[in-house]
Amino acid sequence: MIEFDFLFHKYHRRLLLFTLKFVESESDALDIVQNVFVAIWENGKYRQNENLVQAYLFSAVKKSCLNYLKHQKIIKKFENETALQLREIEAIHFQSGEKSLIESENLKQINDAIDSLSEIYKEVIVLSRFEGLKNSEIAKQLNLPVRTVETRVFRALSALKEKISQKSFFILLFLNRLR
C-alpha cells in the first residue's frame, strides 16, 4: 500500500467524523479535511512516523474547526448564538488535548459494541443513529411516548460510554465471546 494513500484511507473518515462534531455543513467539513491533507502533502509531513502524522492530522483539524467556529460567530452574529457557543465549548475541550473516541478508539469496535446492549437500547440507537429517524418518528414506530424514547437513547449512550471507558480490550473480549 502506498504511504500517502494509506494515510488518506486510514484517517480521512475519522477526521471527517471529528470535524462534523463542530461543522454542520458537510461540504465545509470536507473542505477542512481536504486542506489538512493538502498541508501534509505539501510540507512532506506524511512521510514521518505514523503516530506523529496522526497527531498532526488531528491537531490540525482541531485548530481548523476552532477557527471555523470563530469565523461562523462573526458572520452569523446573532443567529443562534447558543448553538455556536455549545460547539465552541466542545472544540476548546478537544483542543486542550482531550481525545475524542473518534481519534482514540477503533470505530468499528464502538459500532460493534452496540450488539452488547440490551434489545430495547439497541433498537433506539439503530433507529436514531443509523436510520437517522427523529425521536418523534421512533416514538410512533415503537408506539412509545417521545420522552421514553429519549430516556432510552440516553441510557443506551451511557451504557456504551461505560463499556468503552472500561478500555477497548474489554469490548474485544466481549465481542469474541458473542461469536
Binding site: H9, I89, N111, I114, F130, L157
Partner: protein, 331 residues
C-alpha cells in the same frame, strides 16, 4: 419528572437535532453549572458522534484530492511525484509532455517503485527529496519505497538527466549496470542502455564521483566532462563534452554531432519507436551531425537524411524501415 431525567431528555433532543431555542439555552445553562455536567455532556455527545453511519466517501475524496493537486501542478508546469500514488496525476501530465504516456507499475516485490518510459516517449519524475529526473525513451527508473530525503538511492537503465537537490549530508546515488554515481547536488546526464556500445555520464554542474563495479576507486568528473565506458572492453575515458547537445533531448530537441551511423540509427529507433534495418557496411563510414525538434516525424527525418547524406529508405512494415546506402549523385 425529576431534573436529571429532564436534562437527559434535553441532551438527546439536542443530539437528535429537534429542540427549541429555550431548550437549547436550558441545556447551555446546565452545562455551564459545573465541570461534571460539562464533562458528562461532552462524553455522551462524543459517543453519539462516533456512532456515525455517514456514507464513506474516502475513495471519492482521494480522487478529488489528486485532481486538485494535478490542476495546481499544471499551472506550475511541474510534476509533483511525492509518492507512487500520484501516478494518476502523472499519467495525465505525461500526455502533455510526451508523445505517449509513460507508464508506471508496481513490481511484484511491492517495495520497489518503477517508472518506465516506453520507446518514442519521454517523461519527467519528481522525487520525494525534490530532485527532478527526466527520462528518455525506453528508460526505467527504480527506487525502493523507502526513498526519502535521507535515503537517496535510485537505479537506472537507459538515459536520464538528473537535477539533484543539493544536500551534502545525504548523497544521492544512481546505480546502473556499469557504474554507480554518487553526488550531493548537481545536474548530470547518464546514458546506460543495455544495447549500447558505450555507457556515459556527462556533468553539467557541480561534481560527481563515479565508481565502476569491479573497481573500488572513485573517479571524479568535473563540469563539462563526459565519462565514457566501453561496455565490452571496460575501457573508459574522460573527455570534454558537448553538454548542450548531450542533454538537449530533455527539452525535446534531438541534437547529434559527429556520431557514427549505428548510433544515430539506435537513437532514432528509441526516439520514434521504430525499427531501422541496415546491412551495408559503407554506412558505418559516415558520421552524422544534425538537429531536430520533436515535432518532426520519422518520415521528415529520414527524408532530410536522404537529401543530405548517401542514404535512402523504404518502409518495410509497421514502424519498420530498411536503410539503404545510395551515393549522392551530385557528390
Amino acid at each position: 419528572m425529576n431534573d436529571k431525567e429532564n436534562i437527559e431528555n434535553l441532551i438527546v433532543r439536542y443530539l437528535n437535532g429537534n429542540y427549541t431555542q429555550e431548550e437549547q439555552e436550558e441545556l447551555k445553562t446546565w452545562i455551564d453549572e459545573s465541570q461534571v455536567n460539562r464533562s458528562e455532556f461532552l462524553q455522551i455527545k462524543d459517543i453519539w458522534d462516533s456512532l456515525n453511519n455517514q456514507k464513506d466517501n474516502t475513495a471519492e475524496q482521494l480522487a478529488q484530492f489528486y485532481k486538485k493537486q494535478y490542476s495546481k501542478s499544471k499551472t506550475k508546469q511541474l510534476i509533483w511525484i511525492r509518492s507512487l500514488s500520484a501516478v494518476a496525476a502523472i499519467l495525465l501530465l505525461g500526455l502533455v509532455i510526451s508523445v505517449l504516456v509513460p507508464f508506471s507499475r508496481e513490481t511484484p516485490s511491492e517495495n520497489l517503485q518503477v517508472f518506465s518510459v516506453p520507446l518514442g516517449s519521454r517523461s519527467k519524475v519528481m522525487l520525494a527529496d525534490g530532485s527532478e529526473v527526466s527520462l528518455n525513451s525506453g528508460s526505467e527508473l527504480r527506487y525502493s519505497t523507502g526513498f526519502s530525503s535521507e535515503n537517496r538511492v535510485v537505479s537506472l537503465s537507459g538515459e536520464a538527466f538528473f537535477n539533484v537537490k543539493s544536500d551534502a549530508k545525504h548523497p544521492f546515488t544512481v546505480k546502473t549496470s556499469d557504474f554507480d554515481i554518487k553526488v550531493t547536488g548537481t545536474k548530470f546526464n547518464v546514458c546506460s542502455y543495455s544495447d549500447n556500445k558505450y555507457s556515459t555520464a556527462t556533468l553539467a554542474e557541480g561534481r560527481i564521483s563515479l565508481r565502476l563495479k569491479e573497481n573500488a576507486d572513485m573517479l571524479k568528473v568535473e563540469p563539462g566532462e563526459k565519462f565514457q565506458l566501453d561496455r565490452k572492453t571496460q575501457k573508459h575515458s574522460l573527455d570534454e563534452a558537448d553538454v548542450e547537445s548531450e542533454m538537449a533531448w530533455k527539452d525535446d530537441h534531438f541534437i547529434f554531432k559527429n556520431i557514427p551511423f549505428p548510433e544515430l540509427a539506435k537513437r532514432l529507433e528509441r526516439w520514434y519507436d521504430v525499427k531501422l534495418n541496415y546491412s551495408d557496411q559503407k554506412l558505418q563510414e559516415y558520421a552524422f551531425t544534425g538537429k531536430f525538434k520533436n515535432q518532426e516525424t520519422i518520415w521528415q527525418v529520414l527524408d532530410a537524411l536522404k537529401l543530405t547524406t548517401p542514404i535512402d529508405y523504404q518502409k518495410t512494415s509497421f514502424r519498420e524501415f530498411s536503410i539503404i546506402y545510395k551515393p549522392l549523385k551530385n557528390n
